[in-house]
């Protein structure tokens, strides 16, 4: 079974993070919440694999 990647996997991590923050620029809380929700759904669909998605949910819940 495929494993959720939990080691660094994004080239230019700082650039990605800046893009993520920039996407929220000028949005109020409700708009930002909505954007995050849409983003989660878009990413989840891209991953597609239910087992990976389940691991991702678990990984996000463990703090």
């Amino acid at each position: 079974m495929d494993e959720l990647i939990l080691t660094p996997n994004i080239d230019g991590a700082d650039d990605f993070y800046a893009d993520l923050l920039a996407a929220h620029d000028g949005l109020d809380k409700a708009e930002s919440d909505a954007l995050n929700a849409r983003l989660v759904l878009v990413l989840a669909n891209h991953i597609g694999d239910r087992a990976i998605l389940k691991q991702a949910i678990d990984a996000a819940k463990a703090r």
Partner: protein, 536 residues
């Protein structure tokens, strides 16, 4: 007011049972003359089982109530001899449209691939559905079938015994006692039978109210299912518009939890809501208004000795998905052939325990689907609403989000995976016809497959050899020999063979697959027959 509600369909008439010196014993008594009770009674009577239906009323149900009848229900009704008038009268529809806020986000088409005798769905008021079934009862009576409906016969007390059930029945002319070998309780979500026997009914309550209004109007809306999330005319809530015969339209408006039900039901409050939805200029007349809340729950067991629960008395779901009446007919479809075999002594009493296993499986599937639809339609937390709205927003632009939109997962028949009556799958064939599945229909020239499989065990061979009949443990199984050449549309091949060259299927009287192999093997099929009647 529609006249059909006023007219007694099975008026009270004194029964000789009321004057009998000792209580009369019937083979089967059914409590409740709704769609499920009538289906049970017709099914049994067609098999020669003597059956009496008791109902505390004498008319069809008031208001439209159940309106969406699924393909499988029509296939069952066909076996019961009453599908034709239902399909003729019903409104067929295939298109569903989903709106969010003030815009259409997407539409879907339910039209399955070709090659079924019956449409995916029809919309038909429950009172017509019941009326056509009562007409079928009358036709059976005219042929001498042992079936009777007693109106205004209200069961007041039930005594259960090892080998029979005793009922106290109240009528306009006083009460009488009557007995039955078997009792089928089809007396609805508030089942008095369940209450009298002190049985459980547990599940989840949904704290929401829905206004349901059937209006008569001349409107040029198409025959489609329209569903709104958070529309301008019902902010923060949902709405549904669906067409029924006779220019009756079903409107469903979510109202929220903290409302005054009696106030909301008054025409002076209902009419402005409907005008906001339909437009100020649309002329309409209210046929029926009701406010409902719902629960998703079921009994722990549907069989209690000689008492069997079917339909809403056994399980209740939200209306999203049309899984109420449709699943009730699957209950009786599952139950009646088993009960007939147990009554005849062909099968052991324990065969009826498989009714519990199979239909609880079905009920749990329906409850799961209906609960998920409800959670989508009426989000219970801020974040579930944010995610729901995100799905709807995305569905307008991207295909991927559309399967996540859940305005009701419409009723499809249950596959009894893991049933003790199934034999292990021995065909590398299509998943849709694996053991436990309801047989999908297929065209055979001018005819269809399913009517040839109705009401008895059948050995279906497709380009495979087998004996013309098998006798096993008192069950006679006749062969239905077909070839893929019998169906030029190739639906038969697609649904029953896949890549296999040939196949042999053992089909139960309720048209579910009990076993299948790539060729006939005597021992295997004899074993499968014994298994399917609870003898293994």
């Amino acid at each position: 007011m529609n006249k059909i509600f006023e007219q007694p369909l099975y008026a009270y008439a004194r029964s000789p049972d009321q004057d009998a010196p000792t209580p009369v014993r019937h083979q089967v008594i059914v409590i409740g003359a709704g769609p499920v009770g009538l289906a049970a009674a017709i099914d049994l009577a067609q098999q020669g089982v003597e059956v009496v239906v008791l109902d505390d009323n004498d008319k069809v149900s008031f208001g439209s109530r159940a309106i969406c009848f699924a393909q499988r229900t029509l296939e069952i009704a066909d076996r019961l001899g009453c599908a034709r008038p239902m399909v003729d009268k019903g409104v067929q529809w295939n298109t569903g449209k989903v709106f969010f806020d003030d815009r259409k986000v997407y539409e879907f088409n339910l039209q399955p691939d070709e090659g079924y005798a019956h449409p995916a769905f029809i919309n038909l008021q429950q009172y017509y559905f019941e009326q056509f079934m009562v007409e079928r009862v009358r036709a059976l009576q005219a042929q001498g079938a042992p079936i009777e409906i007693r109106g205004r016969n209200k069961v007041e007390a039930i005594g259960t015994h090892d080998d029979h059930v005793k009922l106290e029945v109240e009528t306009p002319e006083g009460s009488y006692t009557v007995e039955a070998d078997w009792l089928i309780a089809c007396d609805g979500a508030n089942s008095p039978t369940r209450r009298m026997l002190g049985l459980d009914f547990v599940g989840r309550v949904f704290e929401d109210n829905f206004l349901i209004a059937d209006v008569i109007m001349e409107a040029d809306f198409p025959s489609e299912r329209w569903f709104w999330f958070d529309p301008p005319f019902n902010r923060g809530q949902s709405a549904l518009l669906h067409k029924q015969p006779d220019n009756v339209w079903r409107i469903d408006l979510q109202l929220g939890w903290d409302i005054d039900k009696e106030r909301e039901k008054r025409p002076e409050n209902v009419i402005p809501r409907l005008k906001a939805m339909l437009g100020e200029d649309v002329q309409f007349e209210l046929e029926w208004v009701s406010i409902y809340t719902f629960q998703c729950r079921r009994m722990e067991k549907f069989r209690h000795g000689r008492v069997l629960f079917a339909g809403d008395s056994a399980h209740q779901v939200s209306p999203f998905g049309a899984r109420g009446a449709n699943s009730g007919l699957q209950d009786t479809d599952n139950l009646c052939w088993k009960l007939k075999m147990v009554i005849d002594g062909t099968a052991p009493d324990s065969l009826l325990d498989s009714y519990d296993v199979e239909r609880i499986h079905g009920a749990d599937e329906n409850i799961l689907n209906s609960t998920r639809s409800t959670d989508f339609i009426t989000p219970k937390s801020e974040m579930s609403r944010i995610l729901r709205d995100a799905v709807l927003d995305l569905s307008e632009h991207y295909d991927f989000a559309r399967p996540l939109v859940n305005s009701g997962r419409l009723s499809v028949p249950c596959t009894y995976d893991g049933s003790p009556l199934n034999s292990a799958d021995a065909l590398d064939g299509p998943s849709e016809t694996r053991p436990g599945s309801p047989c999908p229909d297929a065209p055979l020239g001018d005819e269809f497959l399913l009517p040839k499989l109705a009401g008895k065990f059948t050995l279906l061979t497709i380009d495979a050899d087998a004996p013309e009949t098998i006798e096993e443990e008192g069950v006679t199984v006749e062969r239905l020999a077909l070839s893929v050449k019998d169906d030029r549309t190739l639906a038969l091949k697609r649904r029953y063979l896949g890549d296999a060259e040939g196949a042999v299927y053992l089909i139960r009287p309720d048209q579910h697959v009990a076993a299948r192999r790539d060729s006939y093997e005597d021992n295997a099929f004899r074993h499968a027959i014994r298994r399917a009647i609870g003898k293994e």
